[in-house]
Subunit: 425 residues, 2 copies
């Protein structure tokens, strides 16, 4: 293995400048939802040059809607193709999916950017721009890993299937489409921004809306009414008790350093319509974290049942129960066994490249790994060079060195997982 | 006095049908803000027919703005005239203002009305329509009271000044304009809907907006943020403590049966912008009740000082103080001494007409009586035939009998207050 390692390392070093320019090219494509076609054609061309079989297709809303796991803000996907590159192995090896999304969130308020979001400018070893960390930088690690192996003349026994998907930011329809087309494998790695931590588990999540009722009255006689604003505080406190119960249950040491492994967050509130009236209705919107140890359905049911118990703590809710609505996006939780062989290989390669033990944690957010695991039966690990606290924020950047470190770790991991065809080297 | 009483009673009985038709005519005028000209011309014609000197003028925004008590959503008042009728006494008597507003609030959602809001239809002794109870029915009591006295051939020593004003629903600019023009008196009666209770005190009120800060974070790591929604509950509870303190201070027996004499109501809340983010800002809008025993300024200052104390109960507010904004409308508190001679006269006449003792209470809402008392130095009593729980609601109505009962009580009250010129009867 030693020689392979040196060969990979050298290739990455020699191709560093062209790789950075390629990333700049990707950042210059403003591939927000519905605008992914150009960046996908660049990726497809790259995968072809690398000698992969490339499949290119536009998502089919009609087909996708047949899956209960489909979620998107749209049903038409013109201009939003998926690209998958396949490098077939000689047979007898384990297969792997390497999955990355090319869609980006909008740049947002440009006045908050100190640097152009769509140039890929470099300062102090960092490349700046929307999508550098989430996750075109991580995608570059994937391309480099495969290219480095191929450039070293190595043949693998197992297939390498590289997903370049759309729609991750909007519910995962791209990865769902790839899975539905059969692009699955024995395991997967997704280089979402983990700051080079290894995430074998990913929290799922679901959005909800709670309608709290009150009774209107003139503010000068507020004692004749019932304030939905005050009642909404009762609901918030009640939900915090459930959050405690749900998190007390989690004993996986992966979560040891996380204060609240699967939070329930109330992110929006709105209610009442007049300063001098008692508010008769409040709407709260939130997100429940779904543990990798439970199903989406179980988590949802638990919140539903819990809200019904409000009547026990405040008789108001007996006559005026809150109503719970599930809406918007949904991210499935994902999980791979802590002692899965791919976890061992990835950890070992991390140590051999970086020199220290990797940090292994659980992810506080969902990724397409939930769909790969649960729908595609492809257990997934999240491990990438970006940092999640830059994702979706102004002045997003990625540390360039980490892209190459991750590429090297992934190349060695893929080689061991998929198994080298001895005759090839 | 006995003969006068019989004469007034008989006149009201004989003129009942035409009075009801006149009220229907007033209800048919949709005199919402900016649309009061036609109804005022009907009133002005009525006052002229009754032999009053009539003054008619459009409000002057430039003049009004010179007063610190001016509040309106507009500064131009084309099409919104004030009307004042004056019946000069022979001299030596106490003067009285009889004040009523002709502006109405909009009918609102018409689907919630079971009957037309602008016809003045009568069913089971009630006239239905927007403005019946608030307060064209009460205004009719005023016209009838004066007309009945005049029709009985009585002359008074003191002046009777009848205000038919605009803008009560929008901050009181109509009454302010009348006061600024010198239409003041020794006391006033306003037949706002009190359900024939006598209100010697009226709660003032002021609107406020509180900005509560949080710190944003991804909902999946909500422990890294500070929820402005949770902090707003702390603010609501803190304000309730102040409300207790302010109400514990009130020992006037008038408030004995009122659970919260001067409430602080939080009527609106809005905050956060994403279900899966920790809310970093919440805005709450509310109304503070101002006791007749305090000034508007003292009440406002007390809330300001109280909110500064949030830092003592939660260190978050030390670094992130809430901000308090005063905005929108403002109603001055009003008050007349419980043993003011007009209170005695009105109570006695109530008993002589109705046969029972009147209920004397404090009003939970402000009226133009605050401006009359504080700016016009004209202590005011609120006493009228409508019911406040119908005001501003769909299917607003007034009990017709009560209009005539109030008219009779007011006629007798005015005669005694202003003093009959003996030679006239």
């Amino acid at each position: 293995m030693k020689d392979y390692k040196a060969s990979i390392h050298t290739w990455l070093k020699e191709n560093r400048e062209s790789a950075i320019q390629f990333l700049q090219q990707l950042i210059q494509e403003q591939s927000t939802q519905g605008n992914e076609e150009t960046v996908q054609s660049i990726v497809a061309e790259k995968l072809k040059q690398m000698g992969m079989e490339v499949e290119w297709w536009e998502l089919n809303g009609e087909e996708l809607k047949k899956s209960p796991y489909f979620y998107s803000s749209r049903e038409e996907f013109q201009g939003s193709p998926n690209v998958v590159g396949v490098w077939r192995g000689s047979g007898g090896g384990r297969t792997i999916v390497l999955n990355g999304h090319v869609d980006i969130v909008p740049a947002g308020d440009l006045t908050q950017w100190n640097i152009s979001p769509f140039k890929g400018e470099i300062m102090d070893g960092k490349m700046y721009g929307r999508g550098t960390t989430d996750m075109k930088g991580g995608n570059l690690s994937l391309y480099l890993a495969v290219e480095a192996i191929k450039a070293s003349g190595i043949e693998l026994k197992g297939d390498v299937i590289l997903h370049s998907v759309v729609e991750e930011e909007s519910g995962g329809a791209g990865t769902l489409a790839a899975v539905m087309k059969g692009f699955k494998a024995d395991a997967a790695i997704i280089p979402e921004p983990t700051n080079m931590k290894i995430f074998p588990k990913q929290q799922g999540s679901k959005w909800f809306r709670i309608h709290v009722k009150g009774r209107s009255a003139h503010g000068g006689m507020r004692y004749l009414g019932v304030s939905a604003i005050e009642k909404s505080s009762v609901v918030v406190e009640h939900i915090k008790v459930l959050e405690n119960l749900r998190n007390d249950r989690i004993d996986d040491p992966l979560y040891a350093n996380i204060p609240i492994p699967v939070p329930i967050n109330i992110g929006r509130i709105e209610g009442g319509d007049w300063p001098s009236s008692v508010a008769d209705a409040v709407i709260m919107e939130g997100r429940i974290g779904i543990s990798p140890e439970e199903t989406m359905e179980d988590g949802q049911k638990e919140l539903e049942d819990w809200l019904a118990k409000l009547a026990d703590i405040d008789p108001w809710f007996k006559e005026n129960p809150v109503t719970l609505e599930w809406y918007g996006a949904r991210w499935l939780p994902g999980s791979i066994d802590n002692d899965h062989p791919l976890m061992d290989i990835l950890s070992e390669k991390y140590k051999s490249v970086i020199g220290t033990q990797p940090v292994i944690e659980a992810s506080p957010w969902g990724t397409d790994g939930g769909l790969l695991s649960q729908v595609g039966n492809t257990p997934s690990i999240i491990f990438g060079p970006g940092t999640s606290n830059m994702a979706h924020f102004p002045n997003e950047y990625i540390e360039i060195d980490k892209i190459f470190e991750v590429a090297e770790i992934l190349a060695l991991t893929v080689m061991e997982w998929c198994c080298i065809q001895e005759s090839s080297y």
